[in-house]
Symmetry: C2
Subunit: 281 residues, 2 copies
C-alpha cells in the first residue's frame, strides 16, 4: 500500500508556482479576493488555509468579511465592483451563504474569467463538453494527485460515491473526458457495494464517516477519500473510508487529513495564477 500524499504534492506544486511567479516580470502581484458572510467557524478555518497558501506563493489575498446582517444587494454590488477591478484576478464566494439566500445567484454573479472555483455555468458547461478552463478545485486536485502517481484513467472502472455540484458531478465529467468508465452513486443507490467492488479507482465524497469498509473495495484498488469528518470520540479528523482496515487491501489510498484537502487549496492557487496570466494578456 502506498499513500497518495496530497500534502507533499501540494507543497511541491506550491514551490513551483512561487518560483515561477518570482521569475515573472510583473507590475503587480496576482490577487485573490474571498467573500465571506458571517462568522461560520469552519469557513473561517478554510479561509485561513487559503490565505496562508496565497501568501506562501506571493498572491495578494484580500478577505471581504460581511456581517450576517448584510443585505444581499450589498454583496452583489461588491461582486460587480470586483468583476470590474482590473487588479483583481480571482473572486471566491466562501460557502455557505446565509441559509435563506440563493447561493446560485452569487456564484453566477462572479465574472466567469475570475471564477477560480469553477462554479460559473459557463465554466461548468465547458467542462462537461471536454473544454476544461476553470474547473472546481477538489476534482482537479484529485486528477493531479492521480497523475503524480502515474495512475492512468483511460479504460479504468471508476466509481464515485456522492454527486454534489462541487465535487462528484464535475469529477464525473473530468473522468469521462479522460476516457474512464465512470459509475456515479448517490444516496438513492440501493447497493453501493455492487459498484465499489468493481472499481479500479474509488472516490468517496459523502462526508459519511467510514461509509467505505474493507469488504466494499476491490483488492489492489486506488482509494480517494474526499470526506473530512471530525470524530467526536477522539477529536481526530476522519474520512468516508475506514482507513486502517481498507489500507491493508488496496494499492493506493489518500490519508485524511493530508490527502485531497491540501490539493484543493493548491488548485485554487493555480486557478488564480491562471486567471492572472489570462488577465495580463
Amino acid at each position: 500500500m502506498k499513500l497518495l500524499d496530497g500534502k507533499k504534492l501540494a507543497q511541491k506544486r506550491s514551490a513551483i508556482v512561487k518560483s515561477k511567479l518570482l521569475e515573472t516580470k510583473k507590475t503587480r502581484q496576482p490577487k485573490l479576493v474571498v467573500i465571506l458572510v458571517g462568522q461560520d467557524e469552519a469557513s473561517q478555518v478554510y479561509v485561513k488555509h487559503k490565505k496562508n497558501a496565497c501568501e506562501r506563493v506571493g498572491i495578494d489575498f484580500e478577505l471581504v468579511n460581511f456581517k450576517n446582517s448584510v443585505k444581499p444587494k450589498e454583496v452583489l454590488d461588491k461582486i460587480a465592483a470586483l468583476n470590474k477591478d482590473t487588479k483583481v484576478d480571482g473572486i471566491l464566494i466562501q460557502l455557505p451563504l446565509p441559509s435563506d439566500w440563493n447561493e446560485e445567484e452569487f456564484l453566477q454573479a462572479v465574472d466567469f474569467s475570475k471564477d477560480v472555483d469553477g462554479f460559473h455555468y459557463i465554466n461548468q458547461g465547458k467542462l462537461y463538453q471536454g473544454n476544461e478552463t476553470f474547473v472546481p478545485c477538489t476534482p482537479l486536485g484529485i486528477i493531479k494527485l492521480l497523475e503524480e502517481y502515474e495512475i492512468d484513467l483511460k479504460g479504468k472502472n471508476i466509481t464515485i460515491v456522492g454527486t454534489s455540484n462541487i465535487v462528484g458531478k464535475p469529477l464525473i465529467g473530468m473522468m469521462i473526458n479522460r476516457g474512464a468508465t465512470v459509475t456515479a452513486c448517490n444516496k438513492n443507490t440501493l447497493d453501493i457495494k455492487l459498484h465499489t467492488k468493481k472499481a479500479d479507482i474509488l472516490v468517496s465524497a459523502t462526508g459519511s464517516k467510514f461509509l467505505i469498509t474493507k469488504k466494499m473495495v476491490k483488492k489492489g484498488a486506488v482509494i480517494i477519500d474526499v470526506g473530512i469528518i471530525r470524530d467526536l470520540k477522539n477529536k481526530r479528523l476522519v474520512g468516508d473510508v475506514d482507513f486502517e482496515n481498507v489500507k491493508k487491501k488496496v494499492d493506493y489510498i489518500t490519508p485524511v487529513p493530508g490527502g485531497v484537502g491540501p490539493m484543493t487549496v493548491q488548485i485554487l492557487i493555480e486557478n488564480t495564477i491562471k486567471a492572472y496570466n489570462n488577465n495580463k494578456k
Copy 2:
C-alpha cells in the same frame, strides 16, 4: 415485452402543443430558424423532419441554407442578427458544419435564451448543476418517454453506452439529477458487458450496429436505443441493439425507427415553445 413507442408519444405531445398554441392569445406565431451550411444529405432529411414538425403545430419555420463556400464570418453575423430579432424564438445550428470550422464557436454564438438545442455552455452548466432550462433534445426525449411508461429512475442502475456531448453526457447529468445510479461507458471501456448486465435501464448511443446483444442485457431490463444506422444489406434502418433477439429478454424496448428519433424532434418543438413563452414575458 412492451414497445416504448416514441412515435405515438411524439404525436400525442405534438397534438397537445398544437391545441395549446391555438388557445394562446398571440400577436405572432412562435418561430424557429435553422442554419444549415452546405447540402449534406442526412442533414437535409433531419431539417425536413424539423420543418414538418414545426408546421404541424403552428410554429413558423425558416431555413437559412448557406452555400458550402460561405465565409464563417457571414454565418456568425447571421446568428448575431437572429439573436437580436425579437420575432425569432429559437435558433438551431444544424450539424455538421464544414469540417475545418470550429463548431463550438457557432454553437456558443447562439444567445442562450434562444438555444433550443441546449448546447450553450450556460444551459449545459445549468443542467449539470440540477437547474435544467434548455437541455439537449434527445436526452430529454428519452426522459419523457420513460416518464410516459411510468418507469421510475430514482435508485435505478442505469448504464449509458456512449458519452457524446449531444446525447450521452447530458443524459448522465439528467439521470443523476433524477436520483439514478449511472454508469457511463465509452470506446475505452474494456468490458462493456460487465456494466450492461447490471443495468435496470440500458441506453446505447454509439451508432455501432448491433453492439448490444441478448447476452449483454439483464432479464426484465428497459432498453433505449439511440443508434440509427442504415443497414446496407437490406437498406433498413437499424440501431445499436440487436432488437429481434434482445426484445425476447427485456420488459421494455424502443424500436428503431419510431423510438427515440421522433421524441428528439418533438422536444425541439417543446423547447421552441418554451423559448417563445419566455420571449413573450
